[in-house]
């Protein structure tokens, strides 16, 4: 008995069934102690750093078109470097200003790839 091969849902359903089966297999291996060991849990400062950067990146994606590339990227880079532990304020501010300007010049001017103008539309 063959499945209806003209039905576009057939292969996705098959993949979903296989995926479910693989997940059950993995669960079974974990419960019976036959799985390979995992790395340790992300805790403390490492975890905070990763979550902080992920949150900053999410906010950046949301605001970049509204505020514009340079206006959004400067505070993003500032917050990013702070999250990584940078506390040399002059370098931090210079970096946060120079990189968006340089990137704008390379992409928008040299490569003719327009970046979001946002507030400067």
């Amino acid at each position: 008995m063959l499945p209806d091969l003209g039905n576009p849902a057939w292969i996705p359903r098959g993949v979903a069934v296989l995926l479910f089966g693989a997940a059950l297999l993995l669960l079974g291996k974990a419960l019976t102690g036959r799985s390979l060991t995992l790395p340790g849990r992300l805790v403390g400062a490492d975890r905070a750093r990763v979550l902080w950067v992920a949150a900053l990146t999410g906010v950046y994606v949301v605001i970049i078109e509204r505020l514009g590339f340079m206006t959004a990227t400067a505070p993003y880079l500032f917050g990013f470097c702070l999250a990584l532990g940078e506390r040399r304020w002059t370098r931090l501010i210079l970096f946060s200003v120079v990189v968006p300007v340089a990137t704008y010049l390379v992409f928008d001017r040299a490569l003719n790839v327009p970046l979001p103008r946002g507030l400067f539309r």
């Binding site: 292969i11 996705p12 992300l42 990227t73 490569l111 790839v113 970046l115």
Partner: protein
Amino acid sequence: MVDPSLLLHGFGTVLSGYNLVALVLGSFFGIIIGAIPGLTATMGIAILVPFTFGMTPITGIVMLLGIYTGAIYGGGIASILIKTPGTPAAAATVFDGYPMAQAGLAGKAIGIATISSGIGGTFTALGLAFFAPILANFALRFSAPEYFALAVFGLAVTITLSGRSPVKGVISGLLGLLLAMIGLDPMGGFQRFTFGFAELTGGLSFVPMLIGLFALSEGFRQVEIILTAPRVSATLKNILPTLKDLKECLPAYLRACPIGLIVGITPAIGADTAAFLSYAETKRASKKPESFGKGNPAGVAAAQCGENASTGGDVLPMITLGIPGDAATAVLMGALTIHNLQPGPMLFQAHPEVVHQIFAGMISANVVFVILGLIFARFFAQVINLDRKYLVPLIFITCMVGSYAINNVLYDLATCAIFGFLGYLMIRYDYPVAPMVLAQILGSMMESNYRRAVVMFHGDVTLFFTRPIALTILALAAFTTFVAVRRQRQALKQEAAQLAALEESSSQ
């Protein structure tokens, strides 16, 4: 066979004007990316693909080939200087490279590594030029059943040989297959998994997803380990090796070159396996095997030569059959497609001059990085000391701007960010990322060719077992899966034995 006149013309095109500048710039950035631990060749290509959009196809491709070969070579620099491979493929270079550096021979080690990489890469690029037309010609006999079988083989090998756990590789690959089905059904044009979003009608944006999974995910990983990156303090002297040094490494080259080429041709087995196998074989055949691991230049030569000798082999199935050899060639394939060049046997028919330009580009890239590596060795050594607190944010910005630059839509930027974080979680919890990406390419190929084959042969599914080429390829896929499951059982036993030994020694 390769056409000598087209190949000469290809060299003429690649080594002139903007193409030469692109090749040199690509090699330069590729070496930098490879030298910095944590940044991979795949990441480098993924980040720089958007920069090639404004270029002509061949200019963009030679730049990416320069990044690819340069990054594979560049990984050896960090292996030698700080005992940390710049790329996973350079792990074997540590065994003898770092002891040489500790003995004050860092310059010599880097010189030997540079020239060895160039020898291996050039050999395999010549191999690519020789074998690719033969394989492409053979592939012209393939029809839908054979392409379906090839896709299954590629998926089986990729899924089961990536990472430590075949089950996790299967899950990653199946997720990739599901993601490949977002958009329009290839035969009937129905919408699948779009959930009413117009942006998903054309499927997921492939290049932003690639950039996210391969580049941004590593960026998140670098955020996690930011405080632990080692620094270079060695000074480099006598970088250019003597003829006597190279003569001592000749046995290593004679083994590493063919090993690298053969390993590279096998899908999902990449430069790291080629490097280790080349090193092991050279050590085994040496008159002084006990000197390996203590600063034997032949050890550095074997590892670096084998590593770069796999690059041509990785490109071979991609360019002739449309099946990526590894993650880096998957990204290269994406770049070729963006430039309206569909890899496969028809590329050889429709654009033979482009194919020969690619061959010339691969050969030239290996010469260029040797010249750059020898001249700028001290600069590349210092690049390892770049402050990660600035480098990592720069990587993030380059990834996201690059993703946005493709179509100037926020959707691509969001795709890159989402898959970047997803890729990081996958890396963290030991789910290989490469199967997800390769499954997207191979999944579309598998589904459309399966359905086309069944329609062509009026619903008779036994055709996959009666056509000899298709049957052979499917049998290879089954054998590969069996080997992978067995390998995982051995890895589990080894890990259990190591844990038991650790517990015993800590209790004593």
